[in-house]
Symmetry: C2
Subunit: 233 residues, 2 copies
DNA sequence: GCAGTAAGAAATGTAGATTATGTGAGCCGC
DNA sequence: GCGGCTCACATAATCTACATTTCTTACTGC
């Protein structure tokens, strides 16, 4: 279920790990960034060639990812990139709203100076990170990292590593959908939206913070629905 | 994240699958049933010998389980059974109460005849399954299966496969704790408790059903806390 | 057109080589 | 003498290469 902090740190410092873990990280990123077609088969040999590794590490990476639902595994038939659908996205957004509402409410209820500092700091970083649309070059990973850091800061005080983990797992999946509509999301005014969420949270206004947070998710969903509808989906 | 229905069916019918999947299932059960000591190292060769398999399938099974947090993986150091602690259990119970409350509320709100039928049926099965304490022989897996089926029926109408999956993942982990205190749980009066939950749910009384459900989890937690305290833990 | 079948492709499993970790004896500095 | 360091060896994880099994597909005959 996502990378733990140790792994993220290790990856950040470029430390050596196992080949299986290296493939796991790259494959994960490629799936999240939409570098594979949804539904596509991930043939072991091809994946091994792509990342310059043997088949065994690839197999281990795929098995890990299958437990995270980031690949579909069919015994004796291989591994596949999970499909995307508006139906699934709706369910995902709905569940995110439920769980992040709880996590945010608990965080606000138990708020500490450290939690507030985290929000202020990660918002500052996020607000100073430019959003790159596909037309401008496309690599938006810095924004993606900071966006996630901000949302994690919001829920970090909820007192449940389980809940934080679930929210992160769903953030991963949401990221997949984000890349199929880079032109509408992230939007330019997202800094304002995030600031409003931050302010409500720091003010201790539980209901307002929850509303603003979930409205953001629902708005993004609606944008995507309209876009798909317009495209004749 | 737990077995999907296809896998459970396949396992139930004894269909052939891969060696990796066979090891995965057995290892999973052994961990849930407490057949390994918490914190214990799972040495590849030993595990392979135990289940009469090669090292590769074991490795794949362990990698899958590591993504479910049912084993801890340390690169280049091996795999370990996750430790148990009262601290972790409290967090787990707290999170279960949050998530199952939502799932139950949504299920009741969207209730359908099919959902009600599922509850009645699984409760009937559960109520007719004897509870075997360790003194009486110990194999309580039939009760365990039906108990889980009942709780799954309660939340099955929530409209989110994500949420159902999360609840099941936590049920798995709760099962580990249950086995360290078989003498207090499952209790003999659990049939009554489950009946009360069912009645509130079928009556459409959201608040009462949620209270009864979460009270059951909290009561079990308290029993365990008292037992550990009495044992001088 | 459909069932059966056989060749090829691909997943799975095994064996052994390779690499990393942990351990303990011996050595150095204090 | 004691604590800490280094280095060699034992143990175990990891990876590669290859063998085996299974699935897919295209072809044949009815």
């Amino acid at each position: 279920m996502a990378l733990n902090e140790t792994e993220i740190d290790a990856a950040g410092r470029g430390e050596k790990t196992t080949a299986a873990t290296a493939v796991y990280r790259q494959l994960r990123q490629d799936i999240l960034k939409g570098n594979f077609k949804p539904g596509q088969k991930l043939q072991i040999d091809q994946v091994a060639t792509r990342y310059g590794s043997g088949t065994n590490p690839v197999r281990e990476a795929l098995n890990r990812l299958s437990s995270e639902h980031l690949v579909d595994r069919h015994d004796q038939r291989g591994f596949f990139v999970p499909p995307l659908s508006m139906e699934r996205l709706r369910e995902l957004v709905k569940t995110r709203c439920w769980l992040e509402s709880i996590a945010l409410e608990e965080s606000i209820t138990n708020r500490t100076p450290g939690w507030e500092d985290g929000i202020v700091l990660t918002f500052h970083h996020l607000s100073r990170t430019p959003i790159r649309t596909p037309e401008e070059g496309g690599d938006n990973s810095e924004w993606e990292v900071r966006h996630r850091a901000f949302h994690n800061a919001l829920i970090s005080g909820c007192g449940s590593t389980w809940l934080i983990g679930f929210c992160n797992e769903m953030m991963d999946h949401a990221e997949r959908y984000r890349y199929i509509s880079m032109s509408t999301y992230p939007r330019r005014d997202s800094v304002v939206e995030h600031r409003l969420i931050m302010e409500a949270a720091l003010d201790g206004d539980v209901e307002l913070a929850k509303t603003r947070l979930t409205d953001q998710y629902r708005l993004t969903l609606r944008h995507l629905e309209e876009q798909v509808a317009a495209a004749g989906g």
